[in-house]
């Protein structure tokens, strides 16, 4: 504290500029972790939600599990790391957001617990009923998180009744209009949730199409083809609904080139996913879908900046990257090690992708998942 202050008085505006830059940097870090989480855990959510349909026999289901097996645990760490980062940089946002969305957060946690258990437990016992049960659990518990995460983002964009204490509480739903009294689920946030589910199912189908061969590969290609039109329709509908609810987000676009670039990346990504899939280049199609997700998420967080949780009662109650952050000293200290650790994490991911490159085969009984 003392050190920063002593440098300040001569150039107060410069200091303020630096402090704002640091908050923006941590906002960017948080966004990167959460977007990375959606792209990475997203493909195993999608694969899980679809696996009942694209993999019919036990062998094929184990092929699906072998495809996501080396990755899902590490993918979930992105959420843990994002939680840790919010704790460090924006503790008020973590506290208000998670306590305000208490019930949906616990639904999300239960789903994450159940799908982890389902994957780990299913193949340890060779029994059709046992495995069938866990397959259904895995499917449902993989479909729920995208809906909840999408709805959560919808809540942040629509706004929640944050009051002067910095906290809020929401019922699960009220009358399904995006007007007060607000609920976690209303027309708008449900649309966002369904969009997330369809987008990640499409994403997961492309991942599996890349990683598998034969029947599973064919079915995944078909699933991605069938999901494409609903995905684009939902995306356009959600964009229109967001515009109707929050025209200010789109007015920001003009002076925020990054948001514009990101939106274009999203459009290019989804077109690339379509073309590459048709040309039989599944890896490129998966990359396109990842770019689509990255693009729309970055465009969203860039046009929302600096607001993190929007108050519907009074804009001054909103929690922002500027008013909800830890002290400058804590943020500065975090800057010493966080980028280094994040670079390491990316290196591990690259190594993992490299070692597990190529198509998977269904593992022998007693090996893998």
């Amino acid at each position: 504290m003392g050190r920063v202050r002593s440098n300040v008085p001569a150039f107060p505006s410069l200091y303020k500029g630096l402090a704002t830059t640091m908050n923006a940097l941590w906002y960017a870090f948080a966004s990167v972790l959460l977007a990375g989480y959606v792209i990475l855990d997203g493909f195993d959510f999608g694969a899980g939600a679809l696996h009942l349909f694209v993999a019919k026999t036990d062998r094929q289901r184990r092929e699906v599990l072998a495809a996501i097996g080396p990755f899902w645990d590490g993918n979930e760490v992105w959420l843990l790391a994002a939680g840790g980062l919010l704790f460090l940089a924006f503790p008020k946002v973590l506290g208000a957001g998670l306590s305000g969305l208490y019930l949906p957060v616990f639904f999300l946690l239960w789903a994450l617990i159940l799908r982890g258990i389902a994957m780990e437990f299913r193949s340890h016992v060779e029994d059709a009923m046992w495995r069938g049960l866990w397959d259904i659990v895995f499917s449902l518990a993989s479909a729920l998180p995208p809906v909840l995460l999408g709805a959560a983002l919808g809540n942040l964009l629509r706004g929640v009744p944050l009051d002067g204490t910095g906290y809020f509480a929401l019922p699960l739903w009220t009358d399904f209009t995006a007007r007060a009294p607000y609920g976690v689920l209303d027309g708008y946030t449900t649309l966002a949730g369904v969009l997330a589910l369809v987008a990640l199912a499409h994403h997961g189908a492309l991942f599996l199409a890349w990683k598998t061969e034969g029947e599973v590969h064919e079915r995944c290609q078909n699933a991605a083809a069938r999901l494409f039109v609903p995905l684009v329709a939902l995306w356009l509908a959600a964009t229109w609904a967001t515009y109707a609810l929050r025209p200010d987000l789109f007015e920001n676009l003009a002076d925020r080139p990054l948001a514009l670039v990101a939106a274009l990346l999203g459009v290019a990504g989804i077109i690339g996913a379509l073309l590459s899939r048709r040309r039989g280049q599944p890896l490129l199609a998966f990359v396109g879908s990842s770019a689509f997700l990255l693009g729309i998420l970055v465009a969203t967080v860039t046009s929302s900046y600096p607001v993190m949780i929007r108050s519907t009662l009074d804009p001054s109650f909103s929690l922002t990257a500027l008013n909800a952050a830890s002290s400058a000293e804590s943020l500065k200290t975090g800057l010493l090690w966080w980028p280094f650790g994040f670079a390491l994490a990316l290196a591990y991911l690259a190594l993992l992708l490299h070692i597990h490159r190529g198509k998977v085969r269904s593992p022998a009984e007693g090996e893998g998942y």
Binding site: M1, G69, L80, G84, L88, A89, P91, L98, G116, Y348
Partner: protein
């Protein structure tokens, strides 16, 4: 019971205790897997690699449980302790964020290599992956212990203008003396758990007549490390923790020992029931002077009792703390007592 605080504590207490069962096992297993893999590379004998492969699978199962039960724990800082997070996030957020970024990414990536990559990597690089897994899981232990150590003995912080805590000295915060002692004690406890699980499964297989070679390896490894870690968890690591409690948490020490009256030559109670209403220890069997010695290294030193402190500083549940602590100490004494016989019966040559 109508106090929401009570239910928040119950919920968080359950989450944290249930979660900890898994890392407690995996942190210990990580070291034992390295031991097995080293022997596999050194001797080239299949039984070590077989045993290691089995324990990697056990590790994987429990690591996944640790991740999925750990998420609620981290999230409950937000859902249940929002104000605490806001107040202390600038400091303990450092280690919680470090744990994710330095430890969990490493751990989850190399676990995938260990489980899925034995053939692709070959024995030596597979051993390297086991070492990396050990480093990752013991790092995560350090970060989380440091977080708790700050809550026990806050160092390296200052107060920000808005009244919340901020980090002032990262090195002091990470090198908290409380954390060092607590870490050593905790990791030895993790090793105790993993050793006993490994020895028990090995013994069970031997009795069943299954997987004889891998079973014998598991049993011997578990029994030997079990004895060493049971000794180390008490001396010096547990003792160091006790001394820190005597310096920094006099009230907690008095409650752990059910000590109400102050005085020199403080006895240690082997048996006894704390009677909080009457402020005394009922039916004690005590050894005079030992508590003074444990706390301050001097039999005659004064150890202050609960009576000296206002009741609102006491732990909420003195009896629970007293019994939990005494059962823990009793169990370790029992484990150490059984050690030599277990060694002999599992075929490890010993001279008694």
């Amino acid at each position: 019971m109508s106090d929401p605080l009570f239910w928040h504590r119950v919920q968080f207490g359950f989450t944290i205790a249930y979660h900890y069962l898994f890392p407690q096992l995996t942190m210990g297993l990580a070291l034992l897997i390295v031991v097995l893999k080293i022997q596999a590379v050194r001797t080239g004998a299949a039984r070590y690699a077989d045993a290691a492969r089995f324990w990697v699978r056990v590790f994987g199962l429990n690591f996944a449980m640790g991740v999925v039960t750990g998420l609620p724990m981290e999230f409950q800082f937000g859902t249940n302790w929002a104000r605490f997070s806001h107040f202390a996030g600038g400091v303990i957020g450092q280690t919680l964020a470090m744990e994710g970024i330095f430890a969990f990414f490493l751990e989850s990536s190399v676990l995938a290599l260990l489980v899925f990559g034995e053939r692709r990597l070959g024995p030596k690089r597979h051993l390297a992956a086991a070492v990396a897994l050990f480093v990752g899981s013991w790092l995560s232990g350090y970060f989380i212990v440091t977080t708790n150590a700050f809550m026990q003995n806050p160092v390296g912080y200052s107060t920000a203008p808005d009244g919340t805590l901020q980090i002032a000295d990262l090195a002091a915060f990470l090198g908290n003396p409380w954390a060092l002692a607590q870490y050593a004690h905790t990791m030895m406890a993790a090793l105790v758990t993993a050793s006993f699980v490994m020895a028990a499964v090995g013994a069970f297989w031997l009795l069943q007549g299954k997987h004889q070679d891998a079973a014998r390896v598991s049993l011997r490894t578990g029994v030997v490390t079990g004895l060493f870690s049971s000794l180390l968890v008490a001396m010096p690591t547990g003792h160091l923790q006790g001394q820190l409690a005597a310096t920094h948490q006099k009230v907690a020490l008095a409650a752990m020992e059910g000590r109400f009256e102050s005085g020199p030559m403080a006895p240690i109670a082997m048996i006894g029931q704390p009677n909080v209403a009457e402020r005394r220890l009922d039916n004690p069997i005590a050894i005079p002077g030992v508590l003074s010695y444990i706390a301050y290294g001097d039999f005659s030193k004064n150890v202050r009792g609960l009576n000296e402190f206002p009741e609102d500083l006491w732990p909420t549940n003195v009896e629970l703390l007293y019994y939990a602590f005494h059962i823990m100490v009793g169990l370790i004494a029992r484990e150490v007592g059984h050690g030599p016989r277990s060694l002999e019966r599992s075929g490890v040559p010993v001279v008694i």
